[in-house]
Structures are given as C-alpha cells and as structure tokens.
C-alpha cells in the first residue's frame, strides 16, 4: 500500500512538472507546406535561445486553424487565408485572430521529367485539375491520360490552388494525397502525373520537372525556382505563408515571431527554398504588433 501511494505521488509529481513545462512550450500546428520551414526556424531559434521549447506539428492548414480556434495551439500555420466562417467561429470562441506573414511561396506545378511538357498557362492547369482536359495530347504532349495528384481538403494548398487557379471544383478523379512530400514521390514515379506543391519541396528535388507557368496565353512564362520572378509577381501562382495567433503576442511567442521576421529568420526562409516577405505584407505584421 505504501508503495502504491509512493507511485501515485510520483506520477502526480511528474504530471505537475510536465504541466508546468507545457506552459512555457510554444505549440505550433498546421500547414504541411510550412512544417519543414517552421521546424527549421524553431530549431535555429532554440539553438540560439537555450531554455526555449517549441513543438511544431502538421496536419494541414485547416487542422491548425481549428486548433487555434479551440485554443489548442499558440500559432496556426496556414498556407491559405482563414475563411470567413472560421473567423466567425474564432470570435465566437473569444479568439482575437491576428495574421503574420512569414514567407512567400511560389506554388509549383510538377510533372515527370520524361514528360515533354515543360510549360503551361494558368488556364490550362485549371482545366487539367478541373478534369476538362484529361489527356496530355490536348496540351501538346504525348497521348497519355493525365493522372492528377492533389491534396486533401484539410490542406491550405488544396484550398488556395482551387480558389486561385481552378476557380471551380477539383476533378473527382484527382488523387487526394497526404502531403507535399507524397505528391513529389508520386509524380517522380508516374510519367503521366501532375501535381502541385510548395516551392520548398522542389528546390533541390531531382527527377522532377517544375513547370514554367504563364498568367495567360501568349504571356511570358516564369519558373517558381527563379526568386526574382516570384518576388516581382511574374510567376503567377504566388501566395503568402501565414501564421495566425490569438491577440497581440507577448513573451516567448513574441520573441519567436520577431526572430522569424528578422534577417536571420528570413535567411532560414531562403535556405528552405521559400522567399522573403515582400513589403506589401509587412503591414499585417505591424498590425499584429511586430
């Protein structure tokens, strides 16, 4: 009996201490596109600031935003904007949402290297993913049926690509993959494949074609791998990568966010294949108190 009591006390004590630690630990959750980048940022930050604890998990932008609304995380990574519905829910829950932009992404459309198609217009990409074009020969390629690889509906990339490129529904035949990495792997193996992923996932990837994209027919084609084209907006499918927080940041949360936006944080952003924040988005960050 005494032993049992001892064990109980010990486990209670353990629970207490983990609980105390949890309060100091920053919980970051959400976008699969952002996960490698934010993980790297957290690692660099923790190296510079011993004693700081940051846990970064994925699950998709939708999952992260849902966690922020339910107050289960400190930062929600989102590769899309929060939907009006989510905003309404957040204010119902007493969550005062602030948006921070930490990087730019050139959303990349990828194909198998043996596929002769090396460039497409936004319109053609939309038609392919809406299921209106089903054979590569219709865009000047081989006579091969197109296999689409996209994300699942909890993905911010899924929503962004649909709203910005498709402006309609995805073909029901598109494979719904678990994450950017899975799309990259699938397209590498599939000569008929086409997929879309954050540029951070294709920067050093071999065995892939990253398509050049033009905003309109007869327009100029640009590659997301060219940072100048992404910054200038010549590459048509760019998006800000966001972090949503509750209220004005203070303490460790503020320090970490400031680190992300600092020049050393932005160096990490570029190392991970994404692009630094353009001036136009800095106002969000100022508004968030950074």
């Amino acid at each position: 009996m005494k032993n049992l009591l001892g064990v109980l006390m010990l486990s209670l004590g353990l629970l207490w201490s983990t609980n105390a630690q949890a309060q100091e630990m920053l919980q970051i959750k959400g976008s699969d596109t952002l996960i490698n980048l934010v993980q790297r940022l957290a690692e660099v930050y923790m190296e510079e600031n011993p004693g700081a604890y940051i846990a970064v998990t994925g699950g998709g932008s939708g999952t992260g935003v849902a966690a922020l609304i339910n107050k289960k995380c400190d930062i929600a990574n989102a590769s899309r904007l929060m939907k009006p519905k989510e905003m309404a829910q957040a204010s119902d829950q007493g969550v005062n949402v602030n948006r921070v932009v930490i990087a730019m992404d050139g959303l990349s459309v990828i194909t198998h290297p043996d596929n002769p198609i090396k460039k497409l217009t936004v319109d053609a990409i939309g038609k392919i993913f809406r299921g209106e074009i089903t054979n590569w020969s219709d865009v000047g390629g081989n006579n091969t049926p197109i296999t689409m690889y996209g994300r699942q509906s909890n993905s911010g990339t899924f929503v962004f690509f649909r709203d910005a490129v498709l402006k309609g529904d995805y073909s029901q035949k598109m494979n719904r993959m678990n994450g950017n990495a899975q799309i990259v792997e699938a397209v590498k193996r599939d000569i008929s494949g086409v997929g879309y992923v954050g540029v951070g996932y294709v920067k050093d990837a071999t065995g892939l074609t990253v398509l050049s994209v033009a905003a309109k027919v007869n327009g100029e084609y640009a590659s997301p791998l060219n940072s100048a084209d992404v910054k200038s907006g010549k590459y048509p499918i760019t998006r800000p990568l966001n972090q949503y927080i509750n209220g004005s940041p203070t303490g460790p949360l503020k320090e970490f966010l400031e680190f992300e936006l600092s020049s050393s944080g932005q160096t990490v952003v570029e190392e991970e294949g994404f692009f630094p924040i353009p001036a136009e988005y800095e106002e969000f960050n100022t508004k968030a108190g950074l």
């Binding site: 699950g59 998709g60 939708g62 999952t63 935003v65 849902a66 519905k85 989510e86 829910q89 091969t144 296999t147 699942q152 509906s153 909890n154 929503v159 649909r162 709203d163 498709l166 402006k167 309609g168 529904d169 073909s171 029901q172 035949k173 598109m174 494979n175 719904r176 993959m177 678990n178 899975q182 792997e185 699938a186 193996r189 599939d190 000569i191 008929s192 494949g193």
Partner: protein, 302 residues
C-alpha cells in the same frame, strides 16, 4: 473458534458479492458503451438531414462537402469503395488464411507450429500506418510494374494490405477451430483409406466450419473498419470507382480526412457522423450475420 469461522464466512460472502458485482459491471459496460455510441451517432447525424435530402445522401454519386460551387453529400462511391477493398481483401486472405491454418494444424510438425503460429500472430501487432507505408513504397511500385499502370495507389493495393492485416485473425482462429476437431474424426477418415488431403478438405474443415466462418467474419470486420492503411495506399480520389486498378476512397478514409478540419456543428460535421453511422450499421450487420451463421452450424453439428 466459532467467531473465526463466522468472520471468514462473512468475508467470503461479501467477497463473493463484490466479485459478482464486478463481473456484472464488466458485462453491462460494453452494452452501455455500444448503446451510447449508437445513440451519439444517431443524434449527431440527424441534424445533417435538415439540409441534405436522405435520398441524395443514400443514392447520390458525388461526395463533395467542401465544393467551390455546390456542396454534395452522396455516399455511393464510398460505399462501393469500401466493399471493393473489403471483398478484394477477403478474396486474398480467406484462401491464404485457411490454407495456412490447415498447414499449421495438420501438416506442420509441432516445432514448426510453435514458431510459425506466434509469428503469424505478431503480424497483427504491426501498426496500420507501417503497413500503409509499405503500401506506398513497396506494393504500389510493384503493382504499377506488374500491371503496367502509372501508379500503384488503387483498390488492389488496399486489398492486399488489408489482407495482410486480416490474415493473423483468420489464421489464428481457424487454426484453433481445426485443432479443436476431435482427433477421432481425422483418424476415422484416415482409417477408411482417405488421403491426408482428403481428410483435411472433406472432414476437418467442414467440422471446423463454424469457427472458420467466424474467423473470416472477424477478418472482414477488421478490413471494413481499417482507416490509416487505406487512407495512405488507395489514392483517395472521391470519384465513383471504375476498376480495381483505379483509386478508391472508403468511408473510413473520408471521415479521417475531413473530420480534422471540419467546422463544428455544420452540416458537413453532422454528415461525417452520418457516415460513421452507416459504417456502424454495416459492421453491426456483418457481426450479426456471423453470429446467426455460427448458431446455425452449432445446431447442425449437434
């Protein structure tokens, strides 16, 4: 002296009652939990049908609750997918499983059985996410090579993986059933001049049939409810499945994909619970059928 006896009698009686109560609670708790889950599913599903027509839900062929244009809640493609994957898995796992069980019970030497049976049972302990991973890196590329298709994420891939997962259940329970057939049956058959093969096929398997069917039904239950593996290995395209070598999206993977991001208390949220209810009803009927079959065979055997 008498006091001592009385005290121990008293103790025993209380103990007896406590133990009785404890087992009664254990028995009743699973019934309460089952009813509770059913009630929860029903009550959380009902609001979905204020906006979704029940007919469209049951017979609709498009599932797209996060549509850009118009939300649609038809479960037919997912039902078809679930059945395709499950039937495929059983078609692979049942012959293989019964064959293995027959080998283990009648052919293998005791030493081989002592090693092989636990090994098969350990297979059941492999996490489904690991099996799903094997589906992506191993089975998928293999299928695409063998069938000359562009990718291996399809119903057949899911079936193969689910067969692997259902196999331990089927082998283990079938083997138990075969071992429980009285020795005299086999001996009588052999004495009448039947070969070992004839004895297994015509005497032992029929006498162990109720156990074998129960094993297959349990395997089927596992295959229908499995989520992570099919989520990873079947492509998850929501379109109506056309063939075994095309992508499918089962009821379970739809719930898993969408429940993480759905806004609470919306039609979509309730509709996902309705999917859960459908799944619950299917597994309920599978289990009930297996129970009825079991009882029938028990009567015949008697």
């Amino acid at each position: 002296m008498q006091m001592v006896i009385k005290k121990s009698w008293f103790n025993n009686s209380i103990k007896e009652k406590l133990i009785h109560g404890f087992f009664f609670c254990n028995g009743i708790i699973s019934v309460v939990v089952l009813l509770g889950i059913f009630a929860l599913l029903v009550f959380t599903s009902i609001p979905a049908f204020s906006e979704v027509n029940l007919k469209d839900f049951l017979f609709g062929t498009t599932w797209n609750p996060t549509s850009y244009v118009k939300e649609q809640y038809g479960i037919i493609p997912m039902l078809v997918s679930t059945f395709m994957v499950t039937i495929g898995a059983l078609a692979i796992a049942i012959p293989l499983g019964i064959g293995t069980a027959a080998y283990l019970s009648d052919v293998a030497s005791p030493r081989v059985r002592e090693i092989a049976k636990p090994t098969v049972e350990i297979l059941a302990g492999i996490p489904s996410v690991v099996i799903g991973f094997l589906g992506i890196v191993l089975v998928g590329p293999f299928l695409s090579k063998v069938f000359g298709i562009h990718n291996g994420l399809n119903a057949l891939n899911g079936s193969i993986l689910l067969a692997v997962m259902a196999l331990p259940t089927i082998v283990s329970i079938s083997e138990d059933a075969l071992s429980n057939v009285p020795k005299s049956y086999g001996q009588a058959s052999l004495a009448l001049g039947a070969t070992k093969w004839q004895t297994v096929i015509k005497v032992k398997i029929p006498s162990a049939l109720s156990g074998i069917i129960a094993a297959c039904m349990l395997g089927m239950g596992r295959a229908i409810g499995e989520t992570m593996t099919v989520l990873m290995a079947t492509g998850c395209a929501p379109a109506m499945p056309e063939r075994f070598l095309g992508p499918v999206r089962t009821l379970t993977s739809s719930i898993a994909i969408e429940l993480g991001e759905v806004a609470y208390n919306t039609t979509h949220y309730y509709a996902l619970f309705a999917l859960g209810l459908v799944l619950f009803i299917i597994t309920f009927f599978v289990n009930m059928t297996s129970d009825i079959i079991l009882h029938k065979f028990e009567k015949v055997n008697r």
